[in-house]
């Protein structure tokens, strides 16, 4: 018989190790589907590792992939800290990208030191405003934000498709539904020649630092954490819970919006309706692997990006479907969720006592 005993104090090293163990477990479990698909397991892991870390080019791809995941991971972790369940980072990413294109593809011409902050601001406002809708529906009308944020993702994607086939379509785009390209002043430069890694990564790391300081050192951070721990206790202690939710919603949406800005201005150069292969949803996994900590988000984003980039290269080499990456990501989420048990409880294996009373109690 297994018994859970609440743990009072957890060593921080132990708490740190658990998500790492969870990620490795998920990666190890991928051996089963790889083998089932007829792949050579050890060779597959070799390809994954080499594809993610094996060359300068691979590392550049890895960090380019991690950049949007840092933003969406931060967005989700800030929201989840307050137990505001924002599953809408995907939609917020797209409106952020749309806003960046609206401002940065020729509507305004100014030098880069004005354009870059301007498109960032536009993306943050767009993402934050979009998240404001479900937040207000929650605080004002009590509508569950999980469902509303999820449903809005589909609405936003259709809206983006509509804009790209209509008013924002590039007349020079050979009929493809894509936006006009960003002007060179509104482009985040690449960090190295012939590599895709761009200055969006630096913005992501600065955002991480800002969020870290906000959560650790500011009154807002305290209010956010207190609201997430226990809403009624926070209310009782005089914390303005409603405005905290609104603040969190705005910050979270703005961060996800920045992911969109960084993707169009740094990586793609123009907007298409498939610019994100689910970065918003993957952000949930990143945030959970990070234990909702901003610094953890960076590490988790790099891990998840490595899985995607590595699996892509393995898939090309061995013909095992690249959906294996999504499978690992999903299993990481489940593994890290299970591992959270070990933080909260000691798990003891106890021999069941054979007194009649105990036997009855277990029936």
């Amino acid at each position: 018989m297994i018994r859970f005993e609440p743990r009072s104090n957890v060593s921080s090293l132990f708490a740190l190790a658990l998500p790492i163990v969870a990620g490795i477990t998920a990666l190890a479990l991928a051996a089963i589907p790889i083998a089932a698909a007829g792949g050579e397991v050890f060779a597959a892991y070799g390809h994954i590792f080499k594809g993610a870390f094996g060359s300068k080019f691979a590392l550049s791809e890895l960090l380019a992939r991690a950049t949007p995941l840092i933003f969406t991971g931060l967005a989700v972790s800030v929201a989840f800290r307050a137990k505001l369940w924002n599953i809408g980072a995907e939609g917020q990413l797209y409106v952020g990208a749309l806003a960046a294109v609206a401002v940065g593809s020729g509507a305004i011409s100014a030098p880069a030191y004005i354009m870059i902050p301007l498109i960032m601001l536009a993306g943050m406002i767009a993402g934050g405003t979009l998240m404001l809708v479900p937040t207000l529906l929650k605080t004002r009308l009590g509508a569950d934000e999980v469902v509303t944020t999820l449903l809005l993702n589909f609405v936003v994607l259709l809206f983006v498709q509509m804009m790209l086939e209509g008013p924002m379509k590039d007349p020079m785009g050979m009929g493809w539904p894509q936006s006009e390209p960003m002007t060179s002043a509104a482009t985040l430069p690449k960090m190295f020649p012939r590599m895709r890694i761009h200055w969006g990564l630096v913005i992501a790391l600065v955002s991480t630092l800002v969020i870290y300081i906000m959560m650790k050192r500011s009154v807002w951070g305290f209010e956010i954490r207190a609201t997430g721990e226990n809403v009624s206790a926070a209310k009782h202690a005089g914390i303005p819970v409603t405005s905290t939710f609104i603040k969190v919603g705005l910050i979270s949406g703005a961060l996800a919006g920045l992911a969109g800005v960084s993707e169009v201005a740094g990586l793609k150069g123009y907007l298409t309706s498939d610019i994100s292969p689910g970065f918003g949803y993957t952000g949930v996994v990143v945030a959970m692997l990070a234990g909702l900590s901003p610094v953890g988000v960076v590490i988790a984003a790099v891990f998840i990006a490595a899985v995607f980039v590595g699996a892509d290269s393995m898939s090309r080499a061995m013909g095992v479907s690249s959906y294996i990456a999504d499978l690992v990501v999903a299993m990481s989420l489940i593994c890290v969720l299970i591992s959270s048990l070990f933080v909260r409880f000691k798990i003891r294996f106890v021999k069941p006592k054979k007194t009649p009373l105990a036997a009855k109690g277990e029936a």
Binding site: L137, G142, A330, L333
Partner: protein
């Protein structure tokens, strides 16, 4: 007036019921889980699993009803997983549900891609055909609208009756409803909270999977990536709208189906002026509206989202 003509055509109502069918399965499934106190956000992925497994079973020669059975079993399996994570382990129902959705979706996609690595157009199966019931199917208006649906639609309607019978007329149903409201009282009766909750989640997830199976085995005859497209999330909104009652769930799904069928026909009328995406947004916006309308007075099962640990209040 052409809008009235739309509402009066049997064709329109037949489409409304067809669109409603997967939602009936999905809303019922979500309802059974939530009545037992567990939110199942795995629904979106379980739809995918049902769609993929049902289709693939038939494609491999299991026969249509064999496919239905396999889809339901696959759904129940992912329900079991969600049940273990959320009931005895008491983990976050939100996160676990999202995890199940991601896991179920990626397993389905991976399996499909592995089984069919290089197909340009998805292979088709011989899907359920509309029934031809003597006399009834030939009735004017009602015949084509109601009695020329496939067997799976009738299965969905039968499930509404079954779920409401079990929930309201049997001791098991009483226990399920109680376990979602006041689990300690159920425990005090000597019943197992764990068994009731896990059982309800498995049954509910099997129903959800049938919703997915309907899409690949009745509405269409093939499996496509992204074909579920948020239908699961719509069901989660509709179950609140239906205030956790099977009868209202049927009504909500039919209403939704009617709106959706109407917008498709409207699109044909005014599609030249208004972009098609506006119409495609309507189902999602409608679900949000439905949720918002009832959110304030929604009577959530009282123990929803709350894990239960023995000997602890």
């Amino acid at each position: 007036m052409e809008y009235i003509d739309i509402l009066l055509s049997a064709n329109f109502w037949a489409a409304a019921i067809r669109i409603a069918t997967p939602l009936i399965f999905g809303v019922l499934g979500a309802l059974v889980c939530e009545r037992a106190g567990v939110l199942n956000l795995g629904i979106e992925g379980i739809f995918v699993v049902g769609a993929m497994c049902g289709w693939m079973a038939v494609w491999l020669g299991a026969g249509l009803w064999g496919g239905v059975l396999i889809a339901a079993l696959a759904g129940a399996f992912f329900g079991l997983l969600h049940g273990i994570l959320t009931v005895p382990l008491g983990l976050s129902q939100h996160v676990s549900g999202l995890g199940i959705t991601m896991f179920a979706t990626s397993v389905s996609y991976f399996t499909y891609r592995t089984a069919l690595p290089k197909v340009s157009s998805p292979p088709r199966i011989e899907a359920f055909q509309p029934l031809d019931i003597p006399v009834l199917s030939d009735l004017p208006f009602i015949g084509p609208a109601l009695f020329q649906q496939t067997s799976m639609t009738f299965l969905a309607l039968a499930m509404v009756l079954l779920v409401s019978y079990v929930l309201y007329r049997t001791p098991l149903g009483l226990a399920i409803r109680a376990v979602g409201d006041n689990p300690s009282a159920v425990e005090a009766q000597g019943l197992s909270v764990f068994a009731l909750r896990i059982g309800a989640i498995m049954a509910g997830s099997a129903l959800m999977a049938l919703g997915g199976a309907f899409l690949t085995m009745s509405a269409f005859d093939a499996f496509f990536f992204g074909m579920i497209n948020g239908r699961g999330w719509i069901c989660i909104a509709l179950v609140v709208f239906a205030s956790w009652r099977p009868g209202k769930a049927l009504l909500g799904a039919l209403l939704f189906g009617a709106f959706d069928a109407f917008q498709i026909r409207l699109q044909n009328e005014v599609g030249a002026v208004i972009p098609s995406q506006v119409f495609l947004m309507i189902p999602y916006l409608l679900s949000i509206v439905a949720l918002v309308l009832v959110a304030r007075k929604a009577d959530y099962p009282r123990a929803l989202l709350q894990p239960y640990f023995r000997g602890q209040r």
